[in-house]
């Protein structure tokens, strides 16, 4: 291979290792040696081997692995557990493993020498398969195996130059020394790219870290990135690789509890948002999560449930008792429950296990129950970093994440141990309300970004058909819940009945009065009518009598032979 062409950007050889290429913005410097150093057992050999295996498989760049510490068979066996079939690569001429054996006791130095033998071996191995990648693991063994470090240093310098001239992308591994990156100061010679691996144990849980100390001619992530080694090799988890570029969804998804939907602006959570349910012990966090799971499955969406405190069967049993059948969804393949103790592995391992499970299952909803079980001792900052990555990852994939968080009793409720509240879009707070000798559950929305939400406390009951939200009694006696609320309600009901009766009675009273009045009016009228009749009769009689009298008088006058006729009488007759 010729020298790489002059380009404005440094040509890079992708490692194919998950995350490492992101940190190094493309891979290791092509055609140059890279130093990978770290203490024993931190994964140097594995990183180097993965670089070759992935190079051969994915980028069609065959590689030579020059091992100074492990024999070919040991290497093949060791990496077989990581899913690398070296034998296959060797037979298909994609990989050469050359085991260099040095035994100091068998070597006598008798004058000047050089390492031409090593060059020839390496050159021969490179030429035999047309290799583009070379690993020297661990070249520092030469210092303990061969006398005269002065010659060795000069020869190593020549070796790295020679590798560069041959255009080999090389990884040189080195054991970490006291106060220096490598025991024999290899960083002096390999200065294009230096990667430090670290393996530390904190609170009995180990975590691996990777840092790009130096990368000439390229930008690179400078942080310490956690990485892990599992059955698929190395995965580095860069925090910054995700960033805040997610597209926010306006789609809403129901919470599984009707009244809670109503509290959340009538439509539930945003799709792809992160939801925190926090509360003290026994406030129904998992139950709330189970409702959400059930609702998601009902819509036909896949749900992944990470349980860190209960076994899957325990969750199923408990939820069945309140009428939520999760087993059905599991059988239908819509629900997967991953249960693990947080202490099983380090945080990075958990995170990557989650990543993998999510990538494999492709869920729409992810539950983590509970978050704070990760906090062991003083690793809260790491937990926060991990959750930040998880939240970012979920958002990136438009997955709705619901996390539960146990608040320690006596602590401030509006506070999470891990201080992740700022990462959360919707925060439901469950609290118990202790009053008149009982303990009741209350729920309210502490925050919910991007939607109008209720500011009311609701009492929530766990019944045999799930969660029910009730209005709490808010009156002069404060917030009443549970039986106090019931008592208050009964009291109000009684008062209402009395009041109703009162109204009824008054109505009746009025009716009575009206009837009485009408009766009186009728009596007066009939009396009047009686009097009227009487008066009329009298007038009639009087008239009759007058007529009669006149008649009698005329009759009398007639009898007396009176000649004058009274005019008046004529007119009257």
């Amino acid at each position: 291979m010729n020298m790489p062409e002059e380009k404005s950007r440094l040509p890079k050889a992708p490692t194919g290792i998950q995350g490492l290429d992101e940190i190094t913005s493309g891979g290791l410097p092509k055609g140059r040696p890279t130093l990978v150093c770290g203490a024993a057992g931190c994964g140097k050999t594995l990183l180097a081997m993965e670089f070759l295996v992935r190079g051969a498989r994915q980028y069609n760049e065959p590689g030579v692995f020059m091992a100074f510490e492990e024999t070919q068979n040991d290497l093949i066996q060791n990496v077989a557990s990581l899913g690398f079939d070296l034998k296959d690569l060797i037979t298909s001429k994609k990989l050469v493993i050359d085991y260099v054996y040095i035994e100091r006791s068998e070597i006598e130095e008798t004058g000047e020498y050089d390492l031409e033998g090593l060059f020839i071996r390496l050159g021969q191995a490179i030429d035999s398969i047309g290799a583009k990648r070379v690993v020297l693991d661990t070249v520092e063994s030469l210092f303990s195996g061969l006398p005269n470090p002065l010659i060795l240093r000069a020869e190593l310098r020549r070796l790295f130059r020679w590798l560069k001239e041959k255009g080999m992308t090389a990884i040189i591994t080195g054991e970490r020394g006291d106060g220096s990156l490598t025991r024999y100061g290899l960083e002096e010679y390999v200065s294009d790219c230096v990667i430090v691996l670290d393996h530390r144990v904190n609170e009995q849980v180990s975590s691996r870290r990777l840092r790009v100390v130096k990368y000439r001619g390229s930008t690179h992530g400078t942080n310490e990135y956690p990485f892990l080694i599992d059955k698929d090799g190395i995965s580095v988890l860069p925090i910054t690789s995700l960033g805040l570029q997610q597209i926010a969804s306006t789609l809403r998804i129901p919470t599984g509890i009707e009244r809670l939907d109503a509290m959340l602006g009538g439509a539930g959570y945003f799709q792809g948002s992160s939801i925190l349910v926090s509360g003290t012990a026994g406030t129904g966090k998992s139950t709330l999560a189970a409702h959400f799971v059930s609702a998601a499955c009902q819509r036909g969406e896949r749900t992944l449930y990470f349980a860190f405190e209960e076994s899957p069967s325990q969750i199923m049993r408990n939820m069945r008792s309140i009428g939520i059948d999760l087993q059905k969804w599991e059988k239908e393949g819509l629900l997967q429950v991953h249960a693990n103790r947080p202490t099983v592995t380090g945080l990075e391992m958990h995170l990557t296990m989650m990543y993998k499970a999510i990538n494999a299952f492709k869920p729409k909803v992810v539950i983590v129950d509970p978050l704070n079980s990760f906090v062991i001792g003083g690793n809260a900052t790491e937990v926060k970093a991990m959750l930040m990555r998880l939240v970012d990852f979920l958002k990136m994939n438009k997955i709705t994440g619901l996390f539960t968080n146990l608040t320690a009793g006596g602590g401030v409720l509006e506070h999470t141990d891990i201080a992740i509240s700022s990462l959360i879009d919707t925060w439901l707070l469950l609290r118990d309300i202790e009053m008149s000798g009982e303990r009741n559950r209350g729920i309210y929305i502490l925050k919910s970004r991007g939607m109008a939400h209720s500011n009311q406390i609701r009492e929530f009951l766990i019944t045999d058909h799930g969660i029910e939200l009730r209005d709490v009694y808010i009156g002069s006696g404060g917030v009443l819940t549970g039986s106090a609320r019931l008592a208050q309600e009964a009291e109000e009901q009684a008062a209402q009945i009395i009041h109703n009766q009162d109204v009824e009675r008054r109505k009746l009273d009025l009716e009575h009065k009206r009837k009485f009045m009408e009766a009186q009016i009728a009596a007066i009228r009939s009396e009047f009518e009686a009097q009227e009749t009487e008066a009329m009769n009298f007038i009639e009689q009087e008239h009759v009598r007058e007529v009669h009298q006149t008649q009698e008088r005329e009759d009398l006058a007639l009898i007396r032979k009176a000649d004058a006729k009274p005019n008046r009488l004529k007119g009257n007759s």
């Binding site: 050359d98 260099v100 054996y101 040095i102 068998e106 070597i107 006598e108 130095e109 008798t110 004058g111 000047e112 020498y113 050089d114 390492l115 031409e116 033998g117 090593l118 020839i120 071996r121 050159g123 021969q124 030469l142 061969l146």
Partner: protein, 130 residues
């Protein structure tokens, strides 16, 4: 120091390495196979990479030491790795020049230009360690 210097001078006048096919040439003390000649015969293999001054000095030094200390019971094989690069793996050769004592067992390796005669003799087990 003086002695080394003299050796180096001698090397300049030493004859070039004898050539043979495949880059391996043998210099035997006897015409017969050494194992047959003597049970305690030394079979030595000198790895070089081309006819470099260092290689030539080494060969000259070796020849001299063998003649002095192992006359008639040694057998030298010179392997030029430039012509037979694959052979470097077999004997685990890194340094050049390397002298490998194949026989008698155990296998010993002596690296360098063999200018320190005393150390060569120690390496060949011809001189007990102090």
């Amino acid at each position: 120091m003086k002695k080394e210097f003299a050796d180096r001078k001698a090397a300049l006048h030493a004859p070039p390495l004898p050539k043979k096919d495949r880059g391996i040439m043998e210099v035997g003390a006897s015409e017969t196979q050494p194992t047959q000649a003597k049970t305690n015969a030394f079979i030595l293999r000198l790895y070089v990479a081309g006819q470099t001054p260092k290689s030539m000095i080494a060969f000259a030094n070796l020849k001299k030491i063998c003649e002095e200390h192992l006359k008639g019971q040694y057998f030298i094989e010179v392997v030029d790795l430039l012509e037979n690069p694959t052979l470097a793996r077999g004997d685990q050769i890194l340094a050049i020049p390397t002298l490998v004592r194949k026989l008698p067992h155990p296998v010993r390796k002596i690296i360098g230009d063999l200018s320190n005669t005393e150390r060569v003799l120690i390496g060949l087990d011809l001189l007990p360690l102090e």
